[in-house]
Symmetry: C2
Subunit: 449 residues, 2 copies
């Protein structure tokens, strides 16, 4: 009997299939640790990603293995979980099956039966219908995208070093970051820092501190999910680092040698720039549409599937959807405005596990309630902005807070790894932290699945 | 004035071009630190690789950034050095020019003038004229090759986990390592260990400890550069780990689903195996042939260019060639048998720098003399063999020695990085150790250049 049929134990046991090993999916899996269920975790990647730090891979500050962790390593001791690598293409909610293809052994398409389904496939950046821009402006969300961006940034400085022509040289030293959310802000700040600090002594012909970094945001201000006062502070901090924040500016074309930017008056400037980075237009994973189609509901403008207060699809109490790919509807039909951040996803994952256990016990789950613990973004080495329970902090204290929170997160994240390492020999290669299958052939189609 | 013309200083100063940033090239560069010369280091990669540990990247034990280091970072404080990224395609020894293409800014082909040339382009594995095997058996020498192999090894276990058919499952769990030199031996040992140890609890359907690892060596014994007694000990140690060493066996075909292996009696077996790894047939970089053609001399069977006792080409005292790509001729015309290991390359690099300085002072360099400090190979976590000045060590003491030597080497290697980090804030991301441009599009054409 193959792994895709029947149960691990061979007995009749409630089968939970979790699609997506990101923040939400992994919390759902963990929450079912002691439940009388068998969990199958499906992902197209063999690792989970600590997404808030992906931009640090793009600047070369961190290695992929430092922000990614093999799924099998995370769940190895949870014996009621099995991991299946493969790409989910759709759902048959009548037959209770997940449709799969691209299995590692070359098999497929095939399907995987469930009793309860949890879909947490995350989001990705969209190019607003201009998918051809992706060739010149890679997305900053997946590991593959981050590695691509890293090569381009470093390659641009190498190219500038060889360039005689002043204008061409400047176009290699101009970086356009599209999207003024936390990822775009952090990326722009770090490129400026790298140019002004880490790379300064490495070149002989160019002055890397003359690099220009433009941060383009279509909305009224950068960091729109933060209070306006913190957006203003972040803008000033970016300017001090040498970044040019351009709020209410829109990217209208991306080509190999330039980016066309429209200002608030409608004037379009073709900025000569050889490196562009995309961190805009958050859209739900295409699996949200697949799930909506299977359930006969509509996705919203951002491609998110609507779920009820218990995070299940209307008419399908056995189908949970979580994280960036859903829009949570209040009982009165209005959509709750939850930010697309890790804490929301993690709380929803834990909630889904509790709800599944409650239903198995014959109960009815209470509604999901998000506990907002605040919002943080960093701008360079020692500046950040934070909004914690209405308390607005900026500058060094916010940066120290950012660092603390991320260290705590990362420690939680690597907990399992530390457990494994503990009691081992001093031969430090045993943890196999770098056990990641990074497919660079087709970067960034999905973020977590 | 562009970087490819004239001097950094603009003054008439002796120009040394070093092709290849491996062990030999970097030692030559460093040795010219205080010399009245201007050095241009040319490499097609922006990093140098600690090649003895590349196999550990292939098993996921180490990250690329742990065994590679940006060239610019290494030479940043040596102000008489500039770095040019680009692919060297040949040499014009009459006009004293290095021919270049694939520059980061898209320019080229172009050329780079020199007064003294140092070529240290290393070696690569050859497929004995069967370049089509490379698709199924990636080479274990470059970072790109190692990452490819890592993905294949991990993907094979994932595929086996999904496979119902017993024979197909076993073919996913069979690994063939081609080449019984230190790299092949270390790789085979570590695959066996990973299967028996690190991955054991990660899968539900397969027993990873049933994985087969075949180590195929065409010669009489594995580790042919070691004394026979140590080869025997290494063979036993590999067998204990679960590796099947096959000396006097030849790979006669590599296909997607099998490897054809000929035994000493001429019988050919088609072993069902989905993963093959190539670490055989060391050949000089194609630049050795280019250099030989430019000088009007012949390369030897392994593609190496002959150099005299002072490591220069016959009739060209201004052209040094070093490392794996050369065959050193004694004054009587016989070739010295120097192993293709890091100590030889490093000693030759230091020698070349001394010889250049001696000639600039009007002197005549004495002949190069290699000081053999011994030979080490590791087989799994706590076994190794060592041959140090005729003293043969095996088992745990040899392994401890191996670990010690590599830690010392790595510390030397990362010295510059540590220097940079010292005195910095605790914000550990400043070293930018991961600043590597890894081009996976065209893996393994050259090893160091």
């Amino acid at each position: 009997m193959g792994i895709l049929e029947g149960n691990i134990t061979g007995m009749e046991i409630h089968r939970v299939v979790v699609v997506g090993g990101g923040f939400a999916g992994l919390q759902a899996v963990r929450g079912l640790r002691d439940a009388p269920v068998e969990v199958t975790l499906v992902d197209r990647q063999n690792y989970t990603l600590f997404q808030p730090l992906v931009y640090q891979v793009a600047t070369g500050a961190l290695s992929p293995a430092e922000i990614a962790m093999p799924l099998r390593r995370i769940v190895r001791r949870q014996r009621n979980v099995r991991v299946v690598l493969g790409e989910v293409t759709g759902f048959d909610l009548e037959r209770k099956e997940v449709l799969l293809q691209d299995l590692p052994n070359g098999d497929g398409p095939t399907s995987l039966g469930y009793d309860t389904l949890v879909v947490a496939a995350g989001s990705r950046y969209s190019y607003f219908g201009h998918e051809d821009w992706a060739a010149y402006a890679p997305e900053l969300k997946s590991l593959a995208g981050a590695l691509d961006i890293r090569n381009r940034i470093l390659g641009a400085f190498e190219a500038a070093e060889l360039e005689d022509d002043r204008d061409r040289r400047q176009s290699w030293l101009t970086f356009v970051v599209v999207g003024g959310g936390p990822t775009g802000v952090e990326m722009a700040g770090q490129i400026a820092e790298v140019a002004r600090d880490a790379l300064r002594d490495d070149f002989r012909e160019i002055d890397t501190t003359t690099a220009r970094v433009l941060l383009v945001e279509a909305g009224d201000r950068i960091l729109a999910t933060f209070p306006p006062s913190l957006s203003r502070k972040a803008t000033r901090a970016l300017e001090e680092l040498g970044v040019t924040p351009l709020a209410r500016h829109t990217v209208v074309d991306v080509a190999e040698e330039s980016v066309a930017i429209q200002d608030p008056n409608g004037e379009v400037e073709h900025v000569p720039a050889r490196t562009a980075i995309w961190a805009a237009g958050v859209n739900a994973s295409p699996l949200a549409s697949e799930l909506a189609a299977a359930a006969g509901v509509e996705v919203d403008r951002a491609g998110r599937v609507p779920v009820g207060p218990d995070l299940t699809l209307a008419g399908h109490p056995d189908v949970h959807a979580l994280g960036d790919m859903v829009s949570v509807q209040a009982p009165d039909g209005t959509a709750a405005l939850l930010p697309g951040v890790a804490p929301v996803a993690m709380q929803q994952g834990r909630y889904a596990a509790r709800a599944i256990r409650t239903r198995l016990d014959g109960g009815v789950p209470t509604a999901f309630h998000y506990v907002d613990k605040g919002n943080l973004a960093t701008i360079g080495r020692s500046k950040a902005v934070a909004d914690v329970k209405g308390l607005h902090v900026a500058g060094f204290p916010a940066w120290a807070l950012w660092l603390l929170v991320h260290i705590v997160y990362l420690i939680g994240f690597q907990n399992r790894l530390l457990e494994v390492l503990r009691g081992e020999t001093t031969y430090a290669t045993r943890g196999r932290g770098a056990r990641l299958i990074v497919d660079r052939a087709e970067p960034g189609v999905f973020s977590r699945i």
